[in-house]
């Protein structure tokens, strides 16, 4: 059994936000059991050994739940497989000798910090614009203190699985953030907590989304197809409904 493989990489290198970037070619000896990020670790070891600048890329948990890793791999955010993050992509998904193009999320609202690392603070500002929720610390609240029907809880949970990675924005031809905002608005509008702010929250979040420079949704469905958590396109429908209702109520 062959346990090593060689891939050719075309990696986007950009010194900082203002600099012009360009693709650089690298060749990496890797093995099929490595994750895509581990393969990048090998590349960086090589670069450091050769006295060159390592490639900057975002990563944290490396178990597919934190939303830090990004990378557009051969044109697809998080690579060729569906419903996984880049850290869960393994080199066995590629063939020996493949050429792989790796670039950052590209959107004006996600400026490149360096190489493959982009600034996703615009997502944080959208969340912040939605307002706060009060959470009592100390002892855990009684489990069934607030009753929520199972189907509603499931639907809210499905939306809540969004890890805020930004693949939706990177896949959208309009760089629209509506799948992300839709997931957050769907989750919050379904649950009994925070109903008083339901309408003002959706208007504030959409205003912030527009101000950050994200595009408008044209329902192509690219976002949902690329989402590592499988957030459905229906959350955008819910967002449209919540926003329109709030606006017609004069919010």
């Amino acid at each position: 059994m062959k346990h090593s493989m060689k891939v050719n990489l075309q990696v986007w290198r950009q010194k900082n936000t203002q600099a012009q970037g360009n693709f650089e070619n690298y060749s990496v000896e890797t093995n099929p059991d490595m994750s895509f990020l581990e393969m990048f670790d090998v590349l960086n070891e090589q670069l450091i050994h050769d006295g060159k600048e390592p490639v900057a890329f975002d990563h944290d948990c490396r178990e597919g739940i934190c939303g830090m890793c990004s990378m557009v791999i051969n044109g697809n955010p998080h690579g060729p497989k569906q419903a996984i993050t880049t850290c869960q992509l393994h080199m066995r998904s590629f063939n020996d000798g493949d050429t792989i193009v790796v670039e950052p999320w590209r959107a004006n609202a996600f400026p490149v910090i360096k190489d493959l690392s982009v600034n996703r603070s615009s997502f944080d500002r959208i969340i912040a614009s939605g307002g706060f929720v009060s959470v009592n610390t100390g002892n855990a609240v009684d489990a069934n203190n607030i009753l929520i029907p199972k189907d509603i809880a499931d639907e809210a949970f499905e939306a809540a699985t969004c890890i805020g990675c930004g693949a939706c924005v990177s896949a959208c031809k309009n760089a629209s953030a509506m799948l992300f905002v839709g997931a957050k608005v769907t989750q919050l509008s379904l649950l009994p907590q925070g109903q008083a702010e339901r309408q003002s929250r959706v208007v504030a979040m959409v205003n912030q989304m527009d101000a950050e420079g994200f595009g408008a949704c044209t329902n192509t469905g690219a976002c949902a197809a690329e989402c590592p958590k499988g957030i459905p396109l229906s959350v955008i429908s819910t967002l449209n409904r919540e926003y329109t209702k709030a606006k017609l109520n004069g919010r």
Binding site: G75, P80, K173, N207, S234, S237
Partner: protein, 224 residues
């Protein structure tokens, strides 16, 4: 304007305008298609001419026509400005295109398909609408009915080809637009949404097919 200003400023409001005007245009297509299909009565265009005559001189229809043109203009202006704005949201383009397809080409090309339809409409309105609505342009007479105009225009293979191409653009524009409008309205239902999608596909095939068939059958002399 006040509370309704969001319809021309916010991303969702602007999409809502596209959806409302789009659905009105779909409703218009039903009427237009039904009248055109009257040529298949094979009565030398008598039923078709009668229907066209009714549409041209009924006060209610003429008033609705003003609304239709208004809606069409808003759909065009808002559509173009949205497309141009959306194009400005990613200044640095990707160096690679998706290996795994994540959307249909026509859903990504609504601006282009719409522009082709706009060019088609200019030709189409000049061919038929102007002559039937404005008497100064010659107008319709007993011996020069709208059906006669059709036979005259479609004798030439060039307009026949352009009309068929226009109908193909319409089919793809509708294939995405029909269901997209209901998504924008916020309508999302486990039973209704799949139904709307199926109706949308059927509508996008049948209606442009009926439209495209008429120049062809007239050109080939299949109907009298």
């Amino acid at each position: 304007m006040g509370v309704l200003s969001f319809l021309f400023s916010s991303s969702i409001g602007r999409k809502l305008v596209m959806a409302v005007t789009g659905v009105s245009l779909i409703a218009f297509l039903v009427v237009h298609c039904a009248i055109n299909a009257c040529v298949y009565f094979m009565d030398g265009g008598a039923t078709f001419n009668a229907a066209a005559e009714f549409m041209a001189h009924n006060l209610f229809i003429r008033l609705a026509e003003v609304g239709l043109i208004g809606g069409l203009l808003i759909h065009i202006v808002q559509g173009l400005s949205l497309t141009l704005d959306n194009m400005k949201k990613r200044n640095n383009k990707y160096g690679s295109s998706p290996k795994r397809s994540n959307s249909t080409w026509y859903s990504r090309s609504m601006g282009l398909l719409g522009t082709i339809l706009l060019l088609f409409l200019v030709m189409h309105l000049k061919d038929f609408w102007i002559v039937s609505r404005f008497d100064a342009q010659g107008g319709l007479t007993e011996t020069k009915t709208l059906y006669h105009f059709m036979v005259e225009v479609f004798a030439n293979p060039v307009p026949v080809t352009l009309y068929v191409l226009g109908c193909i653009s319409l089919a793809y524009h509708l294939l995405h637009g029909f269901q997209s409008a209901f998504q924008t309205f916020g309508l999302n239902h486990p039973i209704l949404t799949p139904m709307i999608k199926s109706i949308g596909v059927a509508f996008s095939i049948i209606v442009p097919l009926v439209f495209a068939s008429i120049p062809l059958v007239i050109h080939l002399g299949l109907i009298k």
